[in-house]
Amino acid sequence: MTMNLFNQFLSPTFLGLPLIAIALMAPCLLYPSPAPWWQSNRWTTLQNWFIGSFIKQILSPINTKGHSWALLLATLMVFLITLNTLGLLPYTFTPTTQLSLNMAFAVPLWLAIVIMGFRNSPTHALGHLLPEGTPTPLVPILIIIESISLLIRPLALGVRLTANLTAGHLLIQLVSSAAFSLLLSQTTAASLAVSLLLLLTILEIAVAMIQAYVFVLLLSLYLQENV
């Protein structure tokens, strides 16, 4: 029974070809590059507004040196939010439910930020491992704890996104299969399940957008510390 429920997360293949490649291309296909003329169409204007306000918001706490990360953070945000929200449509596959993909983004980006921090100002980077005002007997334990929390960041980043989206999709599948099986025999229970499904779907739309934002926000916070 459980294997059946998780089957929706199997990386889909068709005749041996991985279909996740097509799912990953979806964001590229949905965002046409803006044309050079002054007034663009509604979709391009909307994108422009979104990217502009997002970049303004996420770069404001970062110093000027870190602003070169603008393109990477903007691309990551657009990519993740599109993959997450598209996955909520029926019969689509969400690549961000794959731990491999989320770790593939979390680990290299976190590592790049940490290495950059250690290269540019090693003392400052090491200083993050000991909060100010720590009582002396607690210092060794706290350094160990802070180091562990530093090393666990990429894992947390990847698993957070995976778990949130997987759990959401799983719940939707569970509740919808319950509603469907109850439809003819116990219609009242089925209608309750359908209303729950509606609320759940609204929640999942919010979660999809929020989780993408949180991923990029946390990366920007780590960048703030290290740049």
């Binding site: 991985p18 990953l24 590059s33 393109l71 983004f105």
Partner: protein, 55 residues
């Protein structure tokens, strides 16, 4: 859990980074953020509008 199957992990990594590095950034880069057009002629030159950092 099928997500823990290591078989497609490397392929997924390669594909996702390929798309993330090669296909998405040109689309984002073409977005520009010029200043709002003003009705009055400004004698003082405005600050340069923000560009993606290295352009």
């Amino acid at each position: 859990m099928p997500q823990l199957n290591p078989a497609p992990w490397f392929l997924i990594l390669v594909f996702s980074w390929l798309i993330f590095l090669a296909l998405m950034p040109p689309k984002i880069l073409t977005h520009q953020f010029p200043h709002e057009p003003s009705t009055l002629t400004a004698h003082k030159p405005k600050a340069n509008s923000w560009t993606w950092a290295w352009q």
